[in-house]
Amino acid sequence: MQTINKFSMNFLARSSNEGFARACIAAFAAGLDPTLEELNDIKTAVSEAVTNCIVHAYAEKIGKVYIMAEILEGGIIKIKIRDNGCGIENVDMAMQPLFTTVGGERAGLGFAVMQSFMDGIRVTSKVGRGTTVTMLKKISPRITVNG
């Protein structure tokens, strides 16, 4: 599938950057003219993935979070969020709704939200090496009245 536009960035895994990451992806996705709901779905999924990097991957240190996003032919946005953190031992278990390793007030819904709000998600992880979350969403074409 042909890439129409692409951007990448990285930032330190500080919680103050969660809003920054959402704002960046929202500005990039705006190129696809998404509905407000589609835009909110993308922002929410990215917020969950970035929060996972901060809370889980880099629980013991402040590492870097890498985001790469592409707009593909056919109105598809592909977002890859990667860390070099602790990794996930059992990805299938981590993706179960309500599963959380940190307790406190984390709801354990991060992956459930990503799965529900995006059209596709793939998670690859190696313990001690890091995790990559790749998500896809198809933006519905809008019917324009005056061209």
Partner: protein
Amino acid sequence: MAVEITVKGEVVTAYLAGEIDHHSAAGMREKIDSAVDSNMPSLLVLDFGGVSFMDSSGIGLVMGRYRNLQKTGASLHITGASPQIAKIMQLAGMNRLAKIN
């Protein structure tokens, strides 16, 4: 912090505003818990009318307050949720814990 608290009789209302994520949720939690601890309400209302964005950290915020209120038998109401917030609350099954307007 983007939380305004009002107390009327046995009802504490927390008006939340801005974006609720892992970064902002902790400060909101402290302010709400402090109001609940000092007023011991029979009803806590969480008003999301001023909230422009919320991820699952907001679900954690609601679930945590619900658990605290259970200790005293107080109720929880959720109001003012935008379609985006209602969508994530529905996914999390929040309607089973609290009355949502």
